[in-house]
Each structure stands twice: as C-alpha cells, then as structure tokens.
C-alpha cells in the first residue's frame, strides 16, 4: 500500500492509465520504429539499476538535508507572510506612490500623446526597460536556436532522428480535415484581431507584446493546420532573420535618438498626433509595430524549432 502511494507520489505510475489507455488508436505504421527485444531489455535493466543506485544514495545525509531544506522553505514562506501583513493596506491608495502617479495620469496624455496611460508609461517614460525586455526575447530565441537547431553534430542517433524525422508524420495533424476547415474559417479573423490589438496599443488595452503574441499564435495555427511546406514558401529563415534584425535595430536606434536628444535638451521633433486616433502617441505606434514583429517571429521560431529543429526548413 505504501509502495503504491510512493509510486504515485513520485510519478512512476498512474492509477488512471488503464482507463485512458483505451482511448489511444492503434496504428500499424508504427512498425518501422519498433525496438528490438534486446534493446528494450537493456533499457529496462539500466533503469532498474539507476533507480537502485539513487535509492542507496538517498538515505542518511541526504534525508537530513531534505528535512533542513523543507524547514527553511517553510520559514521563508512564514517570514514572507509576516511581511505581507505589515505592508500597506490592499485596495487603498498608497500615499507614497502618489507623487509618481500624479504626473503619469495628469500629464501623461499631453506629454506622450497616448490615451492608454500604461502604454505611455512603458514606451515613453520608462522606455529603457522595454528596450531591455524585447532583447530578453531575442536572447531566448538565440539560446533555443543553439540548443535545438539541427546541424551535422546533432543528426546522429536513431533516437534523435526518431523525434524529428520519423515520428513527425505520426504526430502531424495537418492531414486532419477538422483542423483544416476550422483554420480556414477562423484564421483571417485571428490575424486581423492581432493586427487590431497591435495598432491600438496607445488607445485601448493592447500594444506590441500582446498583438505580437496573437499574431504568432495565428502563424502557429497556420503551420499546424496546413503543414510546414506551406509556411516555408513565405516564412523562410532569411526573412525571419531580417525582420528580427530590422525591428530590433530600429527600436534601438529610435530609442537611442530619443534618449540622446532628451538628455541634451534638444527637442526631438516627433509629432504627437491627436489623442484617440490611431496615428498618435509619437513614437509609440512604430515601436509597437517593431515589438509586435519581433514577438511574432520569436513565437513562430520557438514552435518551428521545437517541432522540427529549424526555422524555415533550411
């Protein structure tokens, strides 16, 4: 009984697996990657051996360390709860934060030209943080490319090939008619919605990050429903590289120019437009578009790299 509890606790067995197993459809095409008997036996014996090694190492000092660590975590939570009880009241205005908020709310519209105060804040008052933030996404794309992009060293074993080449047709859903019809009906609206959120960053809730995420999701649905061969015609590696580079370069230089002129007291000559129109907010609209492009390319790049190890099928 205790054995079964600990097996469930550590995730080694699942009480529902007999019920859920019936739902899986048997597929004869899986013959080509069935494993040999001796390979399966070797795998099982290796795992039993490592489990016994781990259980042997886990007694004694390790158990003591675990108890100490659990106590420290509980102490951390207790200390933090004590802190929370001493903080300013929830739901009531914090008098110390008034100085900063007053300028953002009262003068935000005339200084930045944006009706959405939060957009005005992150893309004008505190634009340096957003500059760093878009580069965090870019850095993550670089790291995932280093890890998952297939090259000569990676295309080695049959197991790795299995995940990227042999099994992909089995997990591919682009042959499913439900997916294709649903995508044909809904995709234009999703794309339009993404563009709408992007362009309305300074008027209503929205902006570059959310609009870019919706457009990226639309691209992912497109690739999943119709297959990568269709997206590879348009969305190649070169195009995605150019879009990312041009957007980030534009962002860096535009914001660098604004910081430079602002710090030196030179007027920066960016028109503010009429509040409430789409073409308003000074530089907020072009920056939103740049950020949206980067986010969409990055999201689609993540999906493409996870699925088949390359952006644009190169």
């Amino acid at each position: 009984m205790k054995e079964r509890f600990f097996k469930w606790f550590y995730g080694e067995s699942d009480p529902m697996e007999h019920i859920l197993d019936c739902a899986e459809v048997p597929d004869e095409s899986r013959e080509e990657w069935k494993y040999e008997e001796h390979e399966i036996e070797r795998e099982i014996s290796r795992r039993v051996h490592t489990q016994s090694v781990i259980r042997a190492e886990r007694r004694g000092f390790y158990a003591f360390y675990l108890i100490i660590a659990v106590i420290s975590c509980l102490m951390l939570i207790g200390v933090l709860l004590f802190t929370v009880s001493q903080l300013p009241r929830y739901g009531v205005e914090n008098p110390r934060a008034k100085e900063v908020i007053e300028r953002y709310v009262e003068k935000g519209l005339e200084e930045t030209g944006a009706v959405n105060i939060v957009s005005g804040m992150i893309l004008d008052y505190r634009a340096f943080d957003t500059l760093g933030e878009s580069h965090v996404l870019f850095t993550a794309l670089l790291c995932v490319m280093i890890l998952l992009r297939l090259d000569e060293k990676n295309k080695r074993t049959r197991y790795e090939n299995y995940y990227t080449v042999l099994a992909d047709p089995y997990y591919d859903i682009s042959t499913d008619p439900i997916m294709r019809i649903a995508a044909t009906i809904t995709l234009p609206s999703i794309f339009l919605f993404g563009i709408y959120i992007l362009l309305n960053g300074q008027i209503s809730p929205g902006g570059g990050f959310s609009g870019g995420a919706v457009m990226g999701a639309a691209l992912i649905i497109y690739a999943a429903a119709f297959g990568f061969t269709v997206t590879d015609r348009v969305f190649t590696y070169r195009m995605s590289r150019c879009i990312t580079f041009l957007s980030l370069a534009f962002y860096s230089f535009a914001k660098g120019y604004v910081f430079f002129t602002g710090a030196n007291g030179i007027p920066n000559g960016v028109p503010k437009g009429t509040p409430g129109a789409v073409l308003s907010g000074g530089l907020i609209l072009p920056l939103d578009i740049a950020v949206g492009m980067v986010v969409a390319c990055t999201m689609f790049g993540f999906y493409s790299l996870f699925r088949r190890g390359s952006i644009g099928g190169e």
């Binding site: 995730g11 009880s85 929830y90 995932v144 209503s204 996870f306």
Partner: protein, 126 residues
C-alpha cells in the same frame, strides 16, 4: 503579528503561490514539474504586483471622457512591471523547455537524479 493578513488576503495568497512554486522548483525530481513550479512562482509574483496596484472603486488607467484626475484610475505602474515580467517568464520557460528536450534526447529520462547518476557513469566525453 499577523493582524493584517486577512485584509491583505490577496497578497498573502500570492505569497503562498510563490512559496509553492519555490518549493516545487527546489525539490521535484521530474524536470517538467520543476518548470511548472517555476511558472507558478512567477505567477505568484505577478499576482502580488497586480493586487498591489488595485484601488477600490476606480477604473483601469485608460483616459475616458477626458477625465485626467488621479482619483479616477488605479495605479498604472505595477501593470507595466507585470508586462515586463510576463515576457521574461515566457523567454525563460522556452529556454528551459529546450534544455529539457536536449536532456531527454540524450538520457531518455526526465528524472534529474537519474540523469546525474547516468552522466557520472558515462565517460565518452571529458
């Protein structure tokens, strides 16, 4: 000591979420569960930030009908911080997931202790 805890209830729940995520990140052996713990931890911090900015009876900080009074809107600063935090959390989750994919391709298991034992016994790279 803990008098105000009920009044600051939302923030307390956020801290409990943070604690749960933190504990999962430290102690779970399964790599995917560690990542879920990390996401729960970040979600706790975002909830904390969002509930910090809320002021009762006021609206979202988008200028409507030309009302430019601080007393009509909630605090806009935490909303901007949460936006940045969410983007950072997504990026880090993507990188960690690709690390887990690479480790699984190589060691065929998601258990961190097992991977550690296996790597000590395999000597094909120095």
């Amino acid at each position: 000591m803990f008098e105000n805890l009920w009044i600051n209830g939302e923030e307390a729940v956020a801290i409990i979420l943070f604690g749960i995520g933190f504990t999962m990140l430290l102690f779970q052996r399964n790599l995917l569960k560690k990542l879920i713990g990390m996401n729960i931890m970040d979600t706790g911090v975002f909830l904390f930030l969002a509930s910090m900015g809320y002021i009762e009876g006021r609206k979202a900080p988008i200028v409507t009908n030309g009302v430019l009074d601080t007393a009509a809107y909630i605090n806009p600063v935490p909303a901007g911080l949460v936006l940045t935090g969410i983007v950072v959390s997504v990026s880090v989750t993507a990188v960690m997931l690709s690390l887990v994919i690479r480790l699984y391709k190589r060691y065929h298991t998601l258990d961190l202790d097992e991977i550690y034992v296996l790597s000590k016994h395999q000597m094909e790279d120095r």
